[in-house]
Subunit: 243 residues, 2 copies
């Protein structure tokens, strides 16, 4: 894990860009002496574009003592393109624009390769970052999108003890079998009027999760309109389960 | 408004039983000097049976400076029975036990008379209690069930500025037109596996509300299994809108 630039914010949070093999990402650590519990911060890809929003989320969590880390999505940012994924994304956007149903075949072509590549990268990153002295060993949280990546992480990575999932992207029906096996506490955010999302699919997925403790928070507005007070809700959820 | 018995809890909250004409109820006031903003606490009827749960909710809100008031439902407790409502309730329970669909005709016979009688009683109670020096004038909250009573109150009583609605009882489809006219901020609680409730109807009603700010919190478990952390969520909602 090689850090190559850093800045410290007014609130004392240290932000560092890093590379780890082919992976690049950002680590935020709170200004505390003890090793901080970690939240893996998911996003839809394009770290440069997402940077300020992700930093705001990380600093909000850091105020409650959490470190945060994010990595670039496969095929996004400066990483090598994934032409088949790009093609599937274009097909999906075409269907949504045309008001047509989004066939699961498209969703599978878009999402499964991302999940299959991103999840091992998250796990390698987790191995590496937990060797840093300022990061606590033990359970971590996952927060954000891509929804299907969160589902797979919740299922296969035992260190992920609780997840705030953003139901703002498609999950292929074939992954519902994985969702049914998830047992960790979940806090699912749904934007009720998300124009690029399938509300019924999100509700079906929430229903499918095997977790005994799962909460759905649905709010009005589009994809990027999650109310500010939900950041506090997420923090409280992680404090209950990682505290 | 005639108070006829009172007790003070360890936390300083004063609980007083009252009657107001044909209406009986309970008022909880926090141990503060300034007039307290008020929350109207709804419930499914049967004050004696509900007392300890309602007192717990009221004292939780009182810790944040809110007064709380509840009244007995028409036809419940020691109040005169409403035979037509009792008959409709029996019909509904029979349908649910038999696993049959609950026809809207039954829901209308059960819910509309309750709404038509309870809402004016709530408004008379509100007039009276806001004349008490320890209760603040101005906006109030509504919290709890019966869901349809909350919908009507949110629509017709201008002092109700925000509502935490418990989506745990049936609302006749004819009232969806009222729901569409509701514009106050709403915080809707849904128990995902509520055996005596219709989840899809609750989701449709949430969708129908005209409010720009509305949040749905869905949790696992049955009718009475609302997680303890939701009490804090409700308090924070009221602090944002009545604070």
């Amino acid at each position: 894990m090689q850090f190559h630039s850093e800045q410290r914010f007014d609130d004392g949070v240290l932000e560092r860009q890093f590379t780890l093999g082919d992976i690049n990402g950002i680590l935020w650590t709170p200004p505390v002496a003890a090793p901080a519990p970690l939240i893996l911060i998911g996003h839809p890809g394009g770290l440069d574009r997402m940077h300020s929003r992700l930093a705001a989320r990380a600093r909000h969590s850091a105020a409650q003592g959490f470190a945060g880390i994010t990595i670039e999505l496969p095929g996004a940012g400066d990483r090598p393109r994934l032409p088949a994924v790009d093609e599937a994304r274009a097909d999906l956007q075409r269907a949504v624009r045309a008001g047509e149903p989004v066939h699961d075949e498209i969703v599978e072509r878009l999402v499964l390769p991302l999940v299959d590549q991103a999840v091992p990268e998250w796990r390698i990153t987790l191995d590496a970052v937990q060797q840093q002295p300022e990061i606590a060993d033990g359970p971590v949280g996952f927060a954000g999108g891509v929804l299907a990546i969160g589902v797979r992480m919740a299922l296969v990575e035992p260190r992920v003890a609780a997840a705030v999932l953003f139901a703002g992207s498609y999950v292929p029906r074939v992954m519902f079998a994985e969702a049914r096996q998830v047992t960790i506490p979940l806090h699912v955010l749904l934007q009720w009027d998300d124009e690029g999302n399938d509300r019924q699919l999100a509700l079906d997925l929430f229903d499918a999760f095997g977790s005994k403790e799962k909460t759905l928070h649905a709010n009005m507005g589009g994809h990027t309109g999650v109310p500010a007070f939900e950041a506090d809700s997420g923090n409280r959820f992680f404090q209950r389960h990682l505290g």
